[in-house]
């Protein structure tokens, strides 16, 4: 079986994102197995119509010897009327190989079918950068992985930069530093991450610059073992400067024991995993949800004392619909005080809050224990394993965030 021709018959994940952003009219045929599809699928601010038919069902029910012949037979027999002829059909699978055959079969039947190059793995590893503010005195960039809902930040002042929560693919940040001509001076993790592998220790090591973490998150909460990665202790009230910018650490435990929010120039609040746009962080990923929910309450109340004009920049989003028109995940604290359900309930008192939180916990994703081991240097994984551990969208917020995100 020879691989189908690639030219003009594929979209890169970047092209796919552009089509999603401008709400282009296309259709998605996802041929992964039903469990993988149910757990994680392509979403945009408006998600295109999507059909999931596992490739092995097409193969078996198409009933031919060859895969492409089976796809053609299956499509003619079972899919008539279900696939549009008037717009592109994007075929999607885990890594982009199987869906290329499916697109080939559909094109032979006259459909305008395109394969998503690299599949969901490439989509999960795709990065996007959006400026929050840009000037010589102060620039802030939001760098995210749209498919995973992970957000990180670069703060630049007078050519010096601090990174907050850098994600696993550190070339993203090194390339940007070269392109924009700044020096990375400090690397900060707001907390020990459970949902993704931090780029922090690797970047700090590569650049020989300090990596900051609150010491409470230097201990794996389930294993109760200390991290093997070197880090500088970040503590409450500590101020770090880059250029003219001043970053103040606020210890706000709850999601983790060492979660820190970073207040930049008393104007921008990098909340890590505490306040998100549509939700708040879950307190149970360390295995102590009931105990930590009360800490989380007092931390949120502390952050709510900041002025309404404070600009909130969260560590995650749960749905692309949380972005503003510029594609930024950003809101004022005043706005969130009114609109964010978790923050509204935090204002009703501790008992109501703890009750609400404990009724709102999504399932615990099993890989999260291992990811925390990787982030503490307790476990070393290769690229293949790292991609597997990180597969899917983050589940760091409360359950309502994902129900609201469901199409």
């Amino acid at each position: 079986m020879t691989k189908p021709e690639a030219q003009g018959t594929e979209w890169t994940v970047r092209e796919q994102k552009e089509h999603l952003d401008r709400r282009a009219n296309f259709f998605i045929l996802d041929v992964r197995n039903r469990d993988e599809f149910a757990a994680w699928k392509i979403e945009g601010r408006e998600t295109p119509s999507t059909l999931n038919i596992p490739y092995f069902e097409m193969l078996e029910q198409g009933g031919k010897d060859g895969f492409v012949e089976s796809i053609i037979a299956y499509t003619q027999g079972e899919l008539v009327g279900q696939l549009p002829k008037d717009r592109p059909i994007l075929t999607v699978c885990a890594k982009g190989d199987t869906s290329a055959y499916v697109a080939d079969g559909l094109r032979q039947l006259g459909y305008h079918a395109l394969n998503l190059q690299g599949g969901m793995r490439a989509w999960g590893n795709f990065y996007e950068m959006n400026p929050v503010t840009e000037s010589r005195e102060l620039s802030v960039y939001q760098i995210g992985r749209p498919a995973r809902g992970c957000l990180s930040y670069i703060i630049v002042s007078d050519g010096q930069a601090a990174l907050i929560d850098p994600l696993r693919h550190i070339e993203t940040y090194l390339d940007l530093a070269r392109a924009k001509g700044f020096q990375i001076e400090r690397v900060i993790d707001t907390h020990g991450h459970a949902d993704h592998i931090s780029g922090g220790p690797a970047l700090a090591g590569r650049l020989d610059r300090p990596y900051y973490l609150h010491p409470y998150d230097g201990i794996h909460p389930i294993d109760v073992l200390p991290a093997r990665v070197p880090f500088e202790y970040l503590h409450d009230g500590q101020t770090l400067s880059v250029g003219k910018a001043r970053i103040q650490a606020l210890h706000v435990p709850g999601h983790t024991l060492g979660n820190v929010a970073c207040l930049l120039n008393e104007a921008y609040l990098f909340t890590g995993d505490s306040i998100f746009i549509n939700s708040i962080a879950r307190p149970d990923l360390g295995g102590r949800g009931e105990t930590w929910a009360g800490l989380h309450y007092h931390s949120l109340r502390r952050l709510l004392e900041l002025p309404d004009t404070t600009v909130v920049l969260p560590g995650h989003f749960s749905s692309p619909r949380e972005a503003n028109v510029d594609g930024l995940f950003i809101a004022s604290l005043g706005e969130l005080r009114e609109k964010n359900e978790g923050l509204r309930i935090a204002q009703e008192g501790e008992d109501a809050f703890v009750q609400y939180i404990l009724q709102s916990l999504p399932d615990f994703p099993p890989p999260y224990v291992e990811i925390k081991r990787v982030n503490g240097g307790l476990l070393v994984v290769d690229e293949e394993k790292a991609s597997e551990l990180e597969l899917g969208k983050n589940v760091c917020a409360l359950a309502q965030a994902y129900q609201a995100a469901a199409p």
């Binding site: 197995n33 469990d35 596992p54 069902e57 193969l59 078996e60 885990a94 890594k95 597997e388």
Partner: protein, 83 residues
């Protein structure tokens, strides 16, 4: 785990959809009640073999296991031709 098998398909190093496509070809060469042991390095094959066995009328998935070979995980699937 010791599952008796009649033939081995080595699909290590092959990406999706090849482990399923080759397994389907092999199973059709076996006698009914015979078992094919499939080796794959594709992690996605675990769920895919489960789904395929549910879809295919003449196939039963007897067992699955994960072995570690030189630090790499190998996913083993035991597939029986039913009829």
């Amino acid at each position: 785990m010791s599952v008796a098998f009649d033939k081995v398909l080595d699909a290590r190093g092959l990406a999706c959809p090849m482990p399923i496509i080759k397994a389907r070809q092999e199973i059709n060469t076996l006698q009914p009640q015979n078992v094919l042991k499939v080796l794959s390095t594709d992690r996605g094959s675990v769920k895919d073999f489960q789904g395929w066995a549910q879809t295919a009328k003449n196939v039963e998935l007897l067992a699955q296991e994960t072995e570690t070979e030189n630090g790499k995980e190998v996913y083993v699937h035991y597939v029986k031709r039913v009829s």
